[in-house]
């Protein structure tokens, strides 16, 4: 018999209650149960970083957590960043201005990685930015414009 578990989770400030199979990944829960498709899924084994979200404020892979484990926790996805369509988060604005994306597949994961990084490192060096980006794969940009965008974001957010 299929086991179902209750999940009470706050996502982008909204609380949700669902019953899920324990094997449902948090990434699939966000995308298929809550229709928050901003969280992308690339590899589903922790390597690409596209699925990165904030779990109680810390960046984590949502493909390596089960949705049941989010019970009682707070999650932020890329949809939680902008105040409105024309009021982007300064980090998003910087990616726009510095051409920090091409196809955009990697972008949500990179943004959700950089949010806590810039909070802890308001004035990062290029090396620090590159190290913080090491867990996120981008197949388009060659990373240079991403690094530029993060530098610009750091200026905007200071």
């Amino acid at each position: 018999m299929k086991q179902l578990c209750a999940v009470n989770v706050t996502v982008n400030g909204v609380s949700y209650q669902r019953e899920v199979e324990p094997r449902l990944l948090l990434s699939d829960f966000l995308r298929h149960e809550l229709n928050l498709t901003g969280t992308h899924v690339g590899c589903e084994h922790g390597v690409c970083g596209a699925c990165t979200i904030l779990f109680d404020g810390q960046s984590v892979r949502s493909c390596l957590i089960f949705a049941v484990q989010a019970d009682g926790h707070s999650v932020t996805t890329v949809e939680g960043l902008a105040k409105s369509v024309d009021q982007l988060h300064p980090l998003q604005q910087a990616f726009w201005e510095a051409h920090g994306l091409q196809c955009g597949y990697c972008t949500p994961g990179i943004l959700m990685t950089m949010i806590p990084f810039l909070e802890e490192n308001p004035n990062p060096t290029e090396m620090e930015i590159r190290q913080a980006l090491s867990g996120n794969l981008c197949r388009c940009t060659g990373y240079q414009h991403i690094v530029d965008a993060v530098k610009l974001a750091a200026e905007k957010m200071r």
Binding site: P22, R23, L25, G46, T52, L64
Partner: protein, 294 residues
């Protein structure tokens, strides 16, 4: 859905977790940070019938000074080891290795106990435990036992843990006076599994002679590889370039047994072991000298 179905339990005490493990035995898997287990489940390489989630067993997450030893709970996150001032003070070697363990997002979830129980020959933490002479505590429903790091790792992805045991605590002894350390690895990218890596601990006496040395390698065999013969060469000697050279030669030719992979042939891994041995030994010896010697 990616993983195969399983029955999920989330105990909130160690006692409950141990009872569940006893009840479900070989069909059950413990879930710590999930950063090695969940990828394997997503590939369906691992299909446990029962999953026992340790993430609510808060009594297993701590870093605590106890007299001269440091005690670390198995569920302590890798990120905590990276930033905890007690870790930096007791074991600078461990602190130095932490940024090399995967990427920040992985370290936010991955745990010390999970990495040790996983016993990946390419992982940093098992190597550090051997280099530091750590002791590991396991529990089952009927009691506890302590193991030396040396006896804990028994081969490729295998440990001395019995199916009904949970690794609960890691004890790190203090460094002896005049001890220097170094951790170095070569990886394709920051946070990737390394092609080769070494942890070195060197203790000098008041006259600057080596009292004790330890060299442990990752990705150099079917577990963390303790190069005891090479370390013996330094014992009782004044460290100098000739001795270091002899050690690097012995390690890279004889004491390690790297398998090679798509990123590096075993010859290249041996070459890297030689280069890293020279550099790490020099740094460790220098640091040992800075610790109160003329």
């Amino acid at each position: 859905m990616k993983p195969a179905p399983f029955e999920y339990h989330v105990p909130d005490s160690l006692e409950q977790a141990l009872a569940l493990l006893k009840e479900h035995g070989g069909d059950a898997k413990l879930l710590a940070g999930g950063q090695s287990l969940v990828p394997a489940m997503n590939f369906r390489v691992v299909q446990p019938g029962v999953l026992i989630d340790l993430n609510r067993v808060s009594e297993l997450a701590y870093v605590r000074q106890d007299g001269e030893n440091l005690r670390i709970g198995a569920m302590t996150r890798e990120r905590t080891l990276e930033i905890d001032p007690l870790v930096a003070k007791q074991s600078p070697l461990l602190e130095e290795a932490m940024p090399h363990v995967a990427h920040p997002q992985i370290r936010n979830r991955g745990t010390l106990g999970g990495s040790l129980a996983n016993a990946d020959p390419a992982a940093e933490l098992p190597v550090i435990m051997l280099a530091l002479g750590a002791r590991l505590k396991a529990r089952n429903v009927s009691g506890e036992r302590w193991m030396e790091a040396h006896d804990f790792f028994s081969g490729m992805f295998t440990t001395a843990l019995a199916p009904d045991e949970i690794l609960v605590e890691i004890e790190l002894p203090p460094d002896l006076p005049h001890t220097g350390w170094s951790f170095m690895e070569v990886a394709p990218r920051a946070g990737d599994y390394a092609l080769m890596g070494v942890a070195a601990q060197v203790t000098l006496d008041e006259n600057g002679r080596c009292r004790q040395a330890r060299l442990v390698y990752l990705n150099a065999g079917d577990g963390p590889v303790d190069a005891k013969e090479a370390a013996k060469i330094l014992g009782g000697e004044m460290p100098n370039d000739d001795v270091i050279e002899a050690m690097a030669e012995l390690v890279s030719r004889k004491e390690i047994n790297p398998f090679g992979n798509i990123h590096a042939s075993s010859d290249f891994q041996r070459h890297l072991a030689g280069v890293l041995t020279r550099k790490a030994l020099k740094q460790a010896i220098e640091r040992a000298g800075e610790d109160g010697l003329q």
